[in-house]
Amino acid sequence: MTPKNRNLLIGGLIIALIIGVLSPFIASTNPDGLDASAEHLNPGVMINPGYWHAPFDNYQVPQLGDGPLAGIAALLIGVIIALVFVGIVTLVLRRRDNTDNTES
């Protein structure tokens, strides 16, 4: 990886982590557009049928209580997962491309 790309990765990650740290303090607690629409139009649909129990449901790490630290930790975990997951998927796609080129 070139130094310019390394700087991009580090700089972008720092910005994302800062947003993650600030988010529990400055994000609105109002329902989002879809939930607000559902509250007005069909409140009964808001009951979760429970098909899946996410480990960090509602962007909280349950082991850390319900304070802002639980939210910050969840978001930092999410930022890292997003960076690594998308990085790996795109890297695999790229490697396949190289393989295809050499084979053809």
């Binding site: 629409s37 559902a38 007005h40 997003a82 796609l93």
Partner: protein
Amino acid sequence: MHIPDGFIPLGQCAIYWVIAIIALIFAFRWGRKNLSEKTIPLMAVLAAGIFAIMSMNIPVPFGSSGHMVGAAMVAIIFMSPWAAVIVIALVLMIQGLFFGDGGITTMGANIINMGICGGFVGYYSWRALYKPKMGSDGVLKGSGILGKRKWWAIGIASWVAIFLAAVLAALEMALAGTFPLGLGLLYMGGFHAMIGIFEAIITVIVVASLEKVRPDLLAWNNLKRSQTDDINLNQWRLLQNDS
């Protein structure tokens, strides 16, 4: 805008999943041809940033809030809606599986609304408003409805992308029998018309920042000098691979 489980009947969810998977196959084909060592870090960073910014709901009037989606931003940066499908779909998978934001059964619908609709509407709205073209003198020129107003085009396209994604979600809700069509369109369209202003501002800030610090990563700056208006992404790919 993340549709939770229970909002759409399972049969309809299955149809949306099939559409989303087909779109992902096309998107991965695009990625296989066009992603390079240079653009992979950008895509990963955008995913991390979009995950973070999606968690930050900003208040909008009438007791609601909203977050940006970022599909138009990714599509414009890479000059391909398929790039947006990849990034948004993967971020939605993380949000659904790990954080319970958006359902598992409804993930296909969410990918369609935010990734596919957001990416395609954002990209082609931008292209209609501002058509980038590298002149023979090596200077980027724009044509289209807004002429040279690149930043206005990016902002408006981002707003249109999130607004139409919300309209599509309202149509799905109506089809599911969850919201009545008229009121669903009114509420979803109304809330997301306001949220779209935030989306537009953040998109312009991010793309303008990238233009300042790493202009080489913006696809339009890598267009080959040409007398024609056609954008040749294969040329861009070759340039990416050469550098």
